[in-house]
């Protein structure tokens, strides 16, 4: 499986105080549930499946962490936008 050629990506910084914890991860996973193809969250060399709360949690993103959100299918563009907005808005916390 070659996932190294993502169609689109966005770089964002985690701004909420608690970082990517279970509830914020759940919000991301919730958005990703409707995606056509895989959505990834990348931190440094590690990447996590954005549809899995557990996988997102294992990335250990504290406040201030830079992450890259990647989609594989252009039709998931709105999901990319929504996640970006969610992260930049501090998950409404």
């Amino acid at each position: 499986m070659n996932r190294s050629q993502p169609a689109l990506s966005r770089e964002v910084t985690i701004v909420n105080e608690l970082g990517l914890h279970a509830r914020s991860a759940a919000k991301i996973a919730g958005l990703t549930n409707r995606s056509k193809a895989a959505v990834w969250i990348q931190k440094g060399d590690e990447k996590a499946d954005a549809s899995s709360i557990v996988d997102i949690l294992t990335l250990a993103c504290e406040k201030g962490t830079k992450i890259t959100i990647r989609i594989e299918n252009e039709s998931d563009f709105n999901i990319l936008e929504a996640i970006t907005e969610l992260v930049e808005g501090g998950f409404g916390e």
Binding site: L18, G19, A22, D49, V54, L57, T58, A60
Partner: protein
């Protein structure tokens, strides 16, 4: 693998006295009971996967019920929603199914393996907050596990033979699940004297040794072990000679205990004829029997937190009432002092209820918490007032630090009584109400608070912590936690003087009351009642009988002249050394 089993002797801290010899029952390192592993044939794999899916569905239904049941009371219902999402998470759900199929193993084992791997990942994280997030994953996995095993819960409640429990550590929630009649003793790798395991073991009169560091690594389930709670020794797979020696010691200890408790049944009166009630502190209704055996004159502190542990919602009034009534009836006509909910950092409810606090001892706890949860508080007060119709009951409000709090607590108590009368339920409002004096502001305001209560009960553990600004859990400063600091003694004296002046009773619960060498001082101050761990009652009664109250009063004058804890201790030794030196039991 199974080579000749060697005897191993390890040393830990004594947390509860006594000796027991029996088979070990290992609670594994993750706190969950050891899960069986067995092979699943290829043709059975899809059945096994379906069994797992059904368990997840049941866990989901349970969560849904909880969400529906208490959406308003639980401000953190979103945690439950997160848990719902976690149930179907790829890394948990998906991976477990993969593991079943790829490794031909049963669902329980697959789930446990997946979760253990995840926990390891979380453990490597440096941010403590993120690290703790594994708790959500573990809780969700536990709920699936419970459903996998069906009615037979995967926890220590399922023990069905007499065993010695071996664990890395036991949380209050875990100990509250144990079928205590089955446990002969506890040993744990972690924990200190004041750990929860110790408290539970002492109240159940079974031996416990804690702080053994790596007992769980050397002990296998069903190994024969000896636990000597008097010396802090654990012998694993003992050789014949040690087995014989300890059987003898066990018999000697039990005989000694029988003698001392038989003397303890009589009330305690000082040598010059002043009676002093010696009461017990309890946490579980099951402890009443032990308390009466030790000669307790009543219950000076019934901690009510246990029923709030390990559950996502608050217990309802009837459930609380049943427990309180059991205790009150069993003790009648002796008094039962029920302390209203006093949650703190150490004993926090399931995290649905507790927000993260940097400084829990100074945070939202005890009466503060109850006053912002008036419905929950009223449920408890109604349960107490109803139980009061069945015997001698008192109410004790914890951690009162302002006049406002005691006034509010009394107001809600009145409301509870009125609502019971309206509902036509039998109850008794005409009971004694007291305030815990454990915050320095309450000491200073004792004269004002006294006008709103029938008694004071001094909680020494917290009072010392707050007055001396010492966290006794902090090793750097724990040695400064000193009940005999002149500042503490003066506070006690002040509260007792105010109580007498205002004509209300003055009690003490907390460890200070159960320590023999504090008794001359407490008699001199003029306490009406002392409450302690039940197993301390016989010895305290013995000390009281040997003292002369008139002497202790003049002794107090000398005590009040002391400038340091050290000189106070010297003074006690010089004056009462002979009484206190009597060793009750030596191994």
């Amino acid at each position: 693998m199974e080579t000749e089993a060697q005897e191993i002797i390890i040393k830990g801290l004594t947390a509860s006295p006594g000796i027991c010899i029996g088979k070990a029952y290992l609670v594994d390192s993750k706190g969950v009971e050891v899960v069986p592993k067995y092979r699943i044939q290829d043709k059975e794999l899809s059945n096994e996967v379906n069994r797992f899916k059904a368990a997840v569905k049941n866990a989901r239904d349970e969560l849904l019920k909880i969400v529906e049941k208490s959406p308003e009371e639980l401000q953190n219902a979103h945690i439950l929603e997160t848990h719902m999402a976690l149930l179907k998470d790829k890394m948990l759900y998906g991976r477990t199914i993969e593991t079943i199929k790829q490794e031909n193993v049963n669902a329980e084992w697959a789930l446990k393996k997946v979760v253990s791997n995840l926990i390891e990942v979380f453990q490597t994280m440096t941010d403590p907050y993120l690290k703790e997030r594994s708790a959500d994953v573990v809780q969700v996995a536990d709920s699936i596990m419970h459903n996998l095993v069906g009615t037979k819960k995967v926890n220590i409640a399922a023990i069905d033979k007499r065993v010695i429990l071996v664990a890395q550590d036991l949380t209050p929630a875990e100990t509250s699940q144990i079928n205590l009649e089955r446990v002969m003793g506890f040993i744990t790798d972690r924990g200190g004297k004041a750990s929860h395991t110790g408290i539970v073991a002492r109240s159940l009169e079974i031996p416990a040794v804690v702080g053994l560091k790596n007992a769980t690594a050397s002990i296998r389930s069903d190994d024969l072990i000896i636990v000597d709670g008097n010396s802090g020794t654990v012998i694993i797979r003992p050789a014949e000679d040690n087995l014989v020696r300890y059987e003898e010691r066990k018999i000697n200890y039990e005989e000694y205990k029988a003698v001392i408790t038989s003397e303890s049944k009589a009330p305690a009166e000082s040598a010059d004829g002043v009676p002093l009630a010696v009461m017990g502190n309890i946490e579980l209704p099951e402890e009443v029997v032990a308390l009466l055996n030790y000669g307790g004159d009543g219950i000076g502190l019934y901690r009510t937190e246990f029923q709030y542990f390990n559950r996502p919602d608050f217990p309802d009034e009837d459930e609380l009432f049943d427990k309180y009534k059991d205790v009150v009836e069993a003790m009648h006509p002796k008094p039962v002092t029920i302390r209203t909910l006093d949650i703190n950092g150490d004993k926090a409810l399931n995290n649905q209820f507790s927000a993260e606090e940097a400084n829990p001892a100074l945070g939202l706890r005890a009466i503060r918490y109850c006053l912002i949860k008036p419905q929950m508080f009223k449920d408890q007060l109604r349960a107490i007032l109803r139980a009061a119709a069945f015997g001698n009951t008192r109410i004790l409000f914890p951690m009162i630090s302002t006049y406002f709090e005691i006034r509010e607590a009394n107001r809600i108590l009145d409301e509870a009584a009125e609502s019971l009368e309206k509902d036509g339920l039998p109850c008794n409002r005409d009971i004694e109400v007291g305030a815990m004096i454990e915050v320095p502001s309450a000491v200073i305001m004792a004269d004002i608070i006294a006008e709103n209560v029938d008694f004071f009960s001094i909680g020494t553990n917290d009072l010392i912590q707050y007055a001396l600004a010492i966290d006794r859990g902090n090793e750097q400063v724990a040695h400064l936690f000193q009940p005999l600091d002149p500042a503490i003694i003066r506070m006690l004296k002040h509260v007792a003087d105010v109580a007498r002046e205002k004509d209300i009773k003055i009690f003490m619960c907390g460890e200070m009351a159960g320590t023999p060498h504090h008794i001359p001082l407490l008699l001199g101050i003029g306490m009406d009642e002392l409450s302690m761990n039940p197993q301390a009652i016989p010895d305290i009664k013995r000390v009281i009988r040997s003292l002369n109250v008139a002497d202790t009063r003049s002794f107090m004058k000398e005590v009040l002249k002391q400038k340091t804890a050290k000189s106070t201790i010297e003074l006690i030794k010089d004056t009462y050394g002979n009484i206190l030196a009597e060793q009750l039991y030596s191994g």
